[in-house]
Symmetry: D2
Subunit: 220 residues, 4 copies
């Protein structure tokens, strides 16, 4: 049996090559994830990936999924490069790779079964997109009693506003969440002193359109 | 057996008297919900409520839940008025009332079991708070293949920015969603012509801090 | 917060007054459960009950559920004494009481959420009926990685053969299960030496019609 | 998109080459399944398979899973022929193949998500072993409101008694179940007259050790 040194796991959400949504800053985020993956491997943490997969024949896809003129799903189509994890962060033999048909990594998958079985209590989470598959996975992780460390610079969305707002929502409502940069996660995983944001009361980072940018920046 | 005339349900999320979070505009939203509830009852739709409930002894509460100096959960405490549905929209005998311990109405509850068993395909959703329990319930509703009609003026949050951003995220990602005001829902339920926003492509309402307000307003 | 001294819980499945199925030996099994409940309370274990509940209006009942001539569900009807837990083993304030609409205590309920949140790892299980709600709950408990202690004399079915066969199936397939009498559970919970059956290899108690009785008896 | 002509699916549970449990009559059951698969394909039904899979590194395996002297799981090990579906009933392109880590095909998988999404209401079920993965899958199918057609001669167990008892339990408790032979299923799928057993009251086939054999035979 393969054993892990810590009750924590890195969970990368949908860091696949699908590029049609226009996710912003993908190359930089993948490079960031590469460093985090390396540090987690060194520390012996579980490394888990989710992959969003739509069958070419459309079986099991979400309601309203977009199909092309040939009747094939446009996004995350199985059998194309779009569902492949980015080269720099390819899974290794003992990693956990979870194919999923819905946004949350926990819906209709074995992700919770596996993490729970491994004794994992804390998840370090990043991926695409912040406001959709990452957000739903983080909310579900919290519902399953995992502690969450969210790494915003290891996340990306199609638009800055939604990325920022989603991070703030998670900061506000996921009690016990830590928000920290990839650089700080690397220190944390290595057992070194690190800096993170954690709430001192619920719903601490309320915002309006005017304060969104500043509220987001205050997390770092 | 009680029967319903349509394969749709009204789902009101956590419209309880708990007031300590400082949700904005509760009275107005409850008054709005009252009109929608009445129209749904007239049309014979299923009316379902979720109630967030924290046991006084803390059994089953979320990780990081806030306790007072006497060791009692501060929010949504069973045995107090805080968990009661607002007076104007009290459940009736044939309604569905779901007590829950996590944000999503679908997590650790019989909500999906009951709606599915009733043959319900479409959910009209509102409640508190837009960016937390409503958002997670809508994302989960979509994961379970329900069509969603979201009624933003029947939702509220603790801050305008997060309310607006959450509505935009749902508009962007929940394919097939309809965004419509309570006034339009009343028409829809009555089988009259109504006006709603529906996407013509995925992720249509991207925003930045500067455009958040305008993007939100463009939905109505 | 209420705290428990051990990472174990007693889970009593559907030990309700519903008597129309003709479960055999109910009084004796309830008296047996009474002793086990008392010992678990003394030891500070979590005590959990499931209750099968069918709404009078039929909402959420299983496919094929039996209704009477007035359109009311015949069994486990809410609002009647049939759904009440037997008097001798009434739940107390800090117990966990889970209402359910399907057989397994884990389906469409918060049972796993609560037990997991409490840090429970081992379940002591009994109830009605051995071959249906107990069996499905034990199989699900195992699927959720709980260790199971099954107490056959705290279980009952409508017929001896199905009771015996169900116990043997659980003995054969639920790896790590302990099969033990109520008297031995009381010792175990008290931290005293006790006697139980545990498999030394998978599928150890195969049987035919001819050997069913003997195979069952060999467990004790 | 691939479309199916009926709201029914054939679900074959764990009909894999794993032979170490000593399942009885595998060759005959596989040959039987071959005929049923062919008839379902002809009729345009969804054909779904579950495969039980244990990772060689033991990640995610059940509590108490058996490992060999090299630390590898003995049964259903990924990377060996044991997890392969039998040659005569190999999946085709549009089939649904569900890998699972627990007994029930519905636990920690996308099986329900996919069947529900396809509009499937009725499941024709067979596989290995009758008293474990088939039984738990049938009980879960019923919990998810599917109608079940159970095909006992397309099922097998390691011992006759447990096979018979499990079939009787399903006959007794899964309301609306049809019990029918593979020959009759082929007729049913083809829209021809067929013969099946269906209950006229709950818990109709009670048995003792003495009557087990006869009760089982009375189903056909």
């Amino acid at each position: 049996m393969h054993t892990y040194s810590q009750a924590a796991a890195l969970v990368l959400i949908d860091m696949q090559k699908e590029s049609r949504y226009g996710i912003e800053g993908v190359d930089e985020v993948v490079a960031t994830a590469e460093r985090v993956v390396a540090s987690c491997r060194t520390a012996g943490l579980v490394v888990a990936y989710t992959r969003h997969v739509n069958r070419p024949d459309g079986i099991g896809v979400s309601t309203g999924e977009v199909f092309d003129s040939e009747g094939l799903p446009v996004y995350y189509r199985a059998g194309t490069d779009a569902i492949t994890i980015h080269d720099a962060i390819q899974p290794e033999a003992h990693d956990v790779v979870i194919d999923k048909h819905r946004w949350s990594g926990f819906h209709g998958t074995s992700l919770d079964l596996i993490l729970r079985n491994l004794g994992v209590r804390e998840l370090i989470i990043g991926g695409f997109t912040t406001d959709c598959c990452v957000l739903s996975s983080v909310y579900d992780a919290y519902a399953h009693d995992y502690l969450v460390s969210l790494v915003p610079d290891m996340c990306a969305a199609t638009n800055e506003g939604s990325h920022q707002a989603a991070v703030l929502m998670m900061a506000n409502w996921v009690y016990g969440i830590e928000i920290l940069s990839a650089g700080e996660v690397v220190k944390k995983v290595a057992g070194e002193p690190y800096r993170s944001w954690a709430a001192t009361e619920p719903d601490q980072k309320r915002f309006s359109a005017e304060t969104l940018q500043g509220a987001y920046e205050s997390l770092f």
